[in-house]
Amino acid sequence: MTDALGSPRLKVPASVRRGEVFTVKSILAHPMESGLRKDEHGLLIPRRIVRQVTVSLDGQELMRADWNPGISANPYWEFALKADHGGLLVMEWHDDDGSLYRAEVAVTVVP
C-alpha cells in the first residue's frame, strides 16, 4: 500500500463515563520505510517514516510521541485515556517529508 498513504482511522467507544479509562485505537496506511533496506539494484531505499505523533483533546495537547524506524508499516497504535470532559480528539501523524495526516473523532462523556 505504499502508493496509498494516509487514510488514518481513529476509534473510541460511542460514549464513556466521566473518569472511565477507555481505549483509543488508531491505524495509518504508511510504508514506514526504515532507510536501511536496499532495492533489487543494491541501492538504499530512502527513509520515510512518521517521526512524530501528537494527540489532543478539545484543543489541549495530551501527548507527543517520537517514532523510530523500527516501527512496522501501517502502524497500529492504541493507548488508554481518561477524560473528565468530552470534545474533539485529534491525532496527527507527522511524516519525514513534511506531510501531515490527521484524524479526529468526538469523545462523548456521560456522567
Binding site: 500500500m1 487514510s7 476509534k11 460511542a14 496506511a29 512496522s72 497500529y76
Partner: protein, 280 residues
Amino acid sequence: MMTAAFTVPKWRLRWFLDLLALTLWSSTVQAAEVALPSLPTDLAAYRIGQSYSGLLIADPTTREMEWDDVANPGMLWVERAQALWEQRDGQAGKACGDCHHAPASLRGAATGYPQVAADGKTLHTLEDRINQCRQQQMQAAPWPYDSDALVAMTTLVKGQSRGLPMAVRIDGPAARWFRRGEQVYQRRIGLMRLSCHDCHVTLEGASLRAEQLSQGQSNGFPTYRLKWQDLGSLQRRFRECNSNIKAEPLPYGDPDYQALELYLAWRGNGLPIETPAVRK
C-alpha cells in the same frame, strides 16, 4: 394455570430479538466507516470435520488483530477498494457500483471461486473474474495480478462473504482442473524434493523451527502477513512457499497455480471465509 399467564409467546420473543438485532446492527454500521460482515469469535467455527483454519494455531494477539476492524491492516485495502468501486474507468465509462450497486450485493459470490468460466475451459480465480469484468463490461485494462488495486478489490469482494462457508465445485468442467491441482499438490519439486502434501498433510502439526505447520488452507486470502507488512494474494504465497523449498516460483496466473487454488479451496470447503485474514 397461573404460570401460563406469564409465558411469553415464542413468536413475540422472536420478534423482540429480531428488533434488538436490527437496532444493534444499524448502530454498528453508523459507527464504522468501512465494515465487512463480522467474523465468529468462537474458535469452534474454524474447524469443520478434519479441516481447520490456520487461525486456530495463530497467536491469540494475531487473532484479535484479525477480528478487530480497526486493528486489522487489511481493512485499509478494503477502504481503498471502496473508493475504486465508485471510480469510473475504461472506454465504457462504468464503475463497479454502476452494475453491482453496493459491494454488499456480492455477499456469497466469492464462496464458489475458483470456478470454470463461461467458455467451459478456463479456470477463473476471483482475481480473474474481476479482471474479466474490467475488460468486458468496463472495457478497461486488466489490473496486474498482484497489484495493489487487484488485491484490494479482491479483498473487498471476498470480504463480503466473510463468515460464509467456502463451497467450490469440482464436478463437471472443473474436474479436469481439480485433477491437475491434485497432481500439483502431490508433485515433489525443487532442490529439497518437497511437495505441498509433504508439509501440509504428512507433517501437518509438526514444528518447522519455531513455526507449527498448518494445513495450508486458503480461506483467509488475500491475507495480511506481518512478515510482508503487506496484503498479498494466494499466488504470492505460493511463490514464497516455492522459493522456501528452493523451487522455481511460477509466474502469476500459471495454469498450475490456478489448478492448485481450486484444489486448496476444495480442501477447505466448509471453512468460513476470513478475508482479510491476519497471519504471522
